[in-house]
Assembly symmetry: C2
Homo-oligomer: 607 residues x 2
Amino acid sequence: MVMQLPQHHKVNFTSSKTFTSSFISEVKETLFPDDPFKYFYKPSSSTSSLSSRLERIWNLSAYFLPMLKWLPKYTLSKFQDDLVAGITIASVTIPQSICHARLTHLPPIIGLYSCFVPPLIYPIFGSSKNVAIGTVASASILSASIIGDEVSPIENPDLYLCLVFTSTFFAGIFQTMIGIFRLGILVDFLSKPTILGFMSGTATIIILQQCKGMLGLTHFTIEADAVYVVHSLYHHLQESSWETLLIGLVFVCFLLLAKYIVGPLKKGLNPLSIGHLTFNNQHLRTVIKAGIVTGSLALAEGIAVGRSLALMNNDHVDGNKEMIAFGMMNIVGSFTSCYLTTAPFSKSAVNYDYGCKTAMSNVVMATCIMLVLLFLGPFFRYTPLVSLASMILLSTGSLIKLKEIKELFKIDKFDFCICIISFLGVVFISMDIGLLISVSISVIKILLNAARPKTYKLGNFENTTMYQDVEQYPSSSTFSGILVLRICAPLFFANAGYLRERIKRWVESELDLVTSSGCQNLEYVILDVGGVTSIDKTSIVMLSEVWRYLTKRKIKLVLIDPRIEVMEKLVIAELVNLIGKEHVFISIDEAIISCQSSLLHHSDNSI
Amino acid sequence: MVMQLPQHHKVNFTSSKTFTSSFISEVKETLFPDDPFKYFYKPSSSTSSLSSRLERIWNLSAYFLPMLKWLPKYTLSKFQDDLVAGITIASVTIPQSICHARLTHLPPIIGLYSCFVPPLIYPIFGSSKNVAIGTVASASILSASIIGDEVSPIENPDLYLCLVFTSTFFAGIFQTMIGIFRLGILVDFLSKPTILGFMSGTATIIILQQCKGMLGLTHFTIEADAVYVVHSLYHHLQESSWETLLIGLVFVCFLLLAKYIVGPLKKGLNPLSIGHLTFNNQHLRTVIKAGIVTGSLALAEGIAVGRSLALMNNDHVDGNKEMIAFGMMNIVGSFTSCYLTTAPFSKSAVNYDYGCKTAMSNVVMATCIMLVLLFLGPFFRYTPLVSLASMILLSTGSLIKLKEIKELFKIDKFDFCICIISFLGVVFISMDIGLLISVSISVIKILLNAARPKTYKLGNFENTTMYQDVEQYPSSSTFSGILVLRICAPLFFANAGYLRERIKRWVESELDLVTSSGCQNLEYVILDVGGVTSIDKTSIVMLSEVWRYLTKRKIKLVLIDPRIEVMEKLVIAELVNLIGKEHVFISIDEAIISCQSSLLHHSDNSI
């Protein structure tokens, strides 16, 4: 019997791409996913004329200095909006930056300095319209912890200050380098759950540390580790029994009543600190470590903030350019008595809410801070310490995002575990180790996922060309004599061995089924590789081993829809010849029709 | 106008799996992909009877001691085959093991010892029928290099020997641990190109080092680094000008004529070496490092060999059980004057070719070696050193697999680069650093691949339900007003940001096309997520951001065929409610029909 087969669509076995062109396009997708050079491609109407040349030079300059894009079009009405937003964020910034400076164990004035210079640098290089520049709690605490381990901020405040500036310098260098070498991909590996757990952990540590201020304990640990803090608290409370506790409570009341003050704030703008950068061997490792860790954390937060706000606005933010902008502002900052700054979420959200139009709002904010530094500084000496302590508690308390953590638990238990591990690591070991453990586990998860790709057995909805996972859609029916499997993952050395065993397992369980149910023998294994986006040598060898395994059992291997990159390698490695071009189809449906017709033919013959 | 739509297939929005059950199944796939417990599941016909209980106990014992599976069924005819194979591999083993012992800078007798005890241990625990146990060149050279850096095998041969035994002990412990904790997945990350480059590199070093023997140089470096070796060669040749060269050449001729001998070989079986294991702090780090590095290399080779031979035979090899078997034989080996052994490819291939039936052929080989050790030892003292040197050259030369490297270049340029990096690292830096760099690059490649998943724009073959990448099949046609994209990768934090930007880029270029060509406005973006095997919180947020971005531009987002694991999370995170259940389809075709009918409806209304 000869069946009338429907017209087959030809499988494309040839690739037009050379190795070089596909390599370049891969590098481009990896390092330049934001396609930064698209402006250069655009054909200009009048080629090689002077105006077109000037336009190109302008575009080139505007690429490096995004300010050139919006400044020429800047209008008074835009400035009005930026002015409102800028003044608003300045009012948020002043107490916040003083509070963050205290968290870093720095003089309060450093916080104000840090909110003056960097916001002036960012608008030149930054591509986001919405972010507001300032200090952040998490990075502040982290640098205090790493540098505080090496040099005590209480015993040796001058050296400590110098090291903070130096670590800010290295953070800036690191951020700029990441931007220049377009390694923004590194920051992608700091996942949300990691950061969430990290922030909650640091917040917990700080709240415990605030007990010091609240209970008036003087011989207190500055270690950032919950065990130390709780132990120290317990120990110091223990050592002078109930009297201390009473005094402590009285002290709290006293604190609440009396207006403890910040202390004198010097009048005047940022002094130069470039001479204070210390690169001596003794502390170099620590400051570089602090720079890299805090720099990448600040980068992750700043870029995430910029990107989410840009999405609200249908804007475009160039990640790598942002990195350079953050890096430049921190380098310049470290020369002018500023410590690490980035784009904090809360402040940027306020900036966005109050309708900022361009990065000019940062300049407005900086101007406000300048006025404060020049004229109003002395007034802030009356900022009550208690209000600061409560601000610290509030701002750190808000870092513990219980709602988001609950949601993580609801949606993704693994993400939740990552978050908890990050939290526990920070609280019980140390901030950097906690972060490291959490990132490592995330990366290991990725590797495990890649090494153990999922395979599905597919079934068909009757009278359709749809093939679905039989587990998800139990109503779909399978075919006697044919096993349809789908692989959805790049094939490479680390999963080749697993997939070989997995396919064998599928085939064996199918054969068991055949033996027990007595239905038609398995004659075809159809492998839908449409979801395989790349393949390497090891996997090609694996496929040929699978083919040999099946052939020994008189089962034919059929491939469905290999992608262009995969097909190219299968052809070169002569696997297509091994399997036979007639066993490569463009869709499962066509393969099934062809297989069924040949099965029918067989059984006709056997009858 | 109301179109008659074909019957829709219902999308399955519900998942029957709890977190625990899906977590368990994931752990099972990751750590137990070979399903080792399948024998326990099998329902026995007569439950709880004595015989069934005995059977279960027997199965349990047979699980831990695979020997129990084949030994009861062992027949004389099988033994005849094993005898032939065993004697054949013994004849290969004797010169080879002496040669490998020399490569490790050990007395030749140690090579013979190493081929006596481990082959007796392997059959008890090992699950492969085809592998032959013995020493390998690569691991021999590697341990010589790592331990030789710490203790000179020439100046302090006794300590060196003790350290080799100790490192063998740690290799065994490491291998057993990996097997017990079912971490075979670790070995999966040693890719073929890495091993290929590594072996070629080590072979190059050795061939250079053999110049020492050939040119009769005595003050020669034992450093395993091409620069050292070539420099040392050059320096020593230089220092006494042409006379040395002449003497060297004469020496070579003399070597070729005179029968230099191996030296006396003691009669007798392996002496105990358990007392020689040295765990003092001074060398502990080195021996542990040597143990782990050589242990994993030996494991990777042994398991790959076992698996490929099993595939030829339609056999099953349990990777984790193999690891325990290799580990046990090395632990016992380190107690009985053996150094690291595994299943070398060449010897196992001979074993397979000569028709071995069970692991008994190893016992036969061990018996032959025993006879040699007991009675024939003294005869081997007349093995000419020159023939050994040429054997070393031959066996190391065969490690440089130019043909395979060429094939790598042809099929996969990236694999080729990995191989060359591994080669250069080994030759110019050191063996372990070379290996480390190559493995790191492979892992980074995996991470980059995972962080930059591919997306495709799909088109349709007319009058079919097939949707293919328009780049691969330019003849497929797209739809006006509808953009169909396919994502084939797990979505997670490290690629969420990239995918958001990539989807935006696809949409923007589509919008540009609309503007320039003046065709119908883009109204639908159809995202085929059938190939997305998992999703996390960050990616769900990303999808909702994409939805928001599209909604602002009055474009509707349509999801196709989310997999069961993905659907579950989309429902919990309420993304399905956000997008609308009516915008989730089971196949692209149904989505297109529905979108087109509503587009038609719109244009009807607008007319």
